[in-house]
Symmetry: C2
C-alpha cells in the first residue's frame, strides 16, 4: 500500500467523487446549501440571508445545485405565485461537510488574517 | 433566538470566518492541502499527484496557501537546490474539513452524476 493509497484519494483523480468535491468547493454553493439548512426559502429570502450575492449569481447557483440534484425548486399555484427552494436528501447530506467547514472557519478565520498581516508570502 | 441564529452563521456575513470558508471553497486549494497531508512535497511531486493541474495554477495555489498561512515553503541549500512545500499547523487543522468533504464526495459522487443524467434542471 503506497503512502498515497488512502481513503479519499479521490481528490487526486478524475472520477465522480472529484465532481462532488468540485461542487462543494464553490463558495456560493456552500453558502447557499448552508442557508437552506433550516428549511425551504424563497429567492428573495436567500438573497437577504447571504451577504454580498447578486440576484444573478444566486439564480445561477440555485440552478447549478438543482442540476446536481442537491436542491429542488417548488412552485405553488397561489395568488401571488410562490416559488421556494429546498434541499433534497442529497443536499441535506451535504450539510455535514458544510458544517465542519463552518466550524473550522470560525476557529481559524482570525489566524488566517493574522498570517496575512504578519507578512506571509505576498500574493 | 431567531431560526438563523446558530453557530456557523459566519457563512452569511462578512467576517474572518467567511474568508476561511472562501479559502477552503477553492477546488485547487482543497486538493493541494489534501496532497500535502502525508508530508512535505516538491512542486513536481505535487503536480504528479494532482491530476489536471497546470504548473502555473499549482504555483498560484501554493502561493495563495502560503499567503493565508496554511503552507510553508522550505528551501534546502543542497546541490541541486531543493524546495519543498509543507502544511503549517493551521494547514494541518484544515485536513479535518477536507477529509469530511472527501468522504462525502466518495459517497455521493455517483448520486450527483445520476441526478444530472436523470434530467435535473439543465444548466
Amino acid at each position: 500500500m503506497s503512502s498515497f493509497n488512502r481513503p479519499g484519494d479521490v481528490f487526486l483523480a478524475d472520477c465522480p467523487a472529484r465532481l462532488a468535491v468540485e461542487i462543494l468547493s464553490d463558495k456560493w454553493s456552500v453558502v447557499t446549501i448552508y442557508a437552506l439548512g433550516n428549511g425551504p426559502r424563497r429567492h428573495g429570502e436567500l438573497k437577504a440571508l447571504i451577504g454580498g450575492i447578486s440576484s444573478k449569481m444566486l439564480t445561477q447557483t440555485l440552478r447549478r445545485l438543482q442540476h446536481h440534484g442537491l436542491v429542488r425548486r417548488q412552485a405553488f399555484a397561489e395568488v401571488p405565485p410562490r416559488v421556494e427552494y429546498a434541499l433534497t436528501g442529497l443536499g441535506e447530506s451535504a450539510l455535514e461537510p458544510v458544517g465542519v467547514l463552518s466550524r473550522w472557519a470560525e476557529h481559524n478565520g482570525d489566524a488566517i488574517l493574522a498570517a496575512q498581516e504578519g507578512g506571509a508570502a505576498p500574493l
